[in-house]
């Protein structure tokens, strides 16, 4: 992690904070090597995240088409009922 701090010109504390967030999300794993803590990406989890984000993107593409249809069919703002 000290290597990360140098690489990203961040304080060690800042790196620790970022890594902790990623670790909680299950996206990185920490392993010990002597006195050093190594941080590695969790490739399975990242692939999984990509898969779900792809699905969500597809859902929103579909919604976009349906919103277009709705706006075309009903273009005028409806008056609010008080």
């Amino acid at each position: 992690m000290s290597g990360l701090a140098v690489l990203y010109a961040m304080s060690f504390a800042a790196v620790q904070k970022h890594v902790a967030v990623l670790e909680r999300a299950g996206l990185v794993v920490k392993t010990k090597r002597g006195r050093e803590q190594l941080v590695g990406a969790n490739p399975e989890r990242l692939a999984l995240a990509r898969q779900v984000l792809d699905r969500y993107e597809a859902i929103w593409r579909q919604r976009s088409v349906q919103i277009d249809d709705l706006l075309a069919a009903d273009p005028q703002p409806r008056q609010h009922q008080q």
Binding site: L46, R50, V52, L53, I67, D68, L70
Partner: protein, 161 residues
């Protein structure tokens, strides 16, 4: 096509979707604040949504279910975290069981929606943020189940021909 772009960030577990519509900001705001209009676009065509509760106030809850081609139901709930009409909406979006009770282990998706006037048209930006990779795992598993069910029913339809 009004779908403009998307930015997927698997490390931040976030997704940004940008759409542009041929309508003004006030009109696009209504597709969110009126549950009858929401029902016309929130669910996929084969899984239309029905909102049974819709308390459009900060902290208010909405309940909905989507009905599949075989009559099966998938439930969901929203909590309105921020409402600044007609431009900004923040929603916590979760899953619900058949009785409408929240299913906590599937986690909550944070959704921020902003509308911006672009010369009479409207740019809608949606930022979705997922809680954890575990949540995604469960969602994928559930989605795979759904996909297999869908495929099975398609095979049934072909075999019945």
């Amino acid at each position: 096509m009004t779908f403009i772009s998307s930015v997927k960030d698997p490390e931040a577990l976030s997704l940004i979707i940008v759409n542009e519509f041929d309508a003004d900001v006030e009109r696009v705001w209504q597709i969110w604040e009126d549950p009858r209009q929401l029902e016309r676009w929130w669910g996929p065509p084969s899984w239309p949504a029905t909102f049974t509760e819709f308390d459009f106030t900060v902290g208010g809850l909405a309940h909905y279910y989507m009905t599949g081609p075989e009559g099966e139901k998938a439930g969901g709930w929203w909590k309105f975290a921020l409402i600044e009409g007609p431009t900004t909406l923040e929603i916590e979006d979760g899953f619900a069981d058949e009785d409408g009770h929240p299913v906590d282990e599937l986690g909550v998706t944070g959704m921020r929606m902003t509308l911006e006037d672009i010369g009479g048209r409207t740019r809608m930006t949606i930022t979705s943020r997922f809680e954890s990779a575990e949540q995604l795992q469960k969602m994928v598993e559930m989605g795979m189940e759904e996909g297999m069910k869908e495929a099975a029913s398609q095979i049934d339809a072909i075999l019945a021909e």
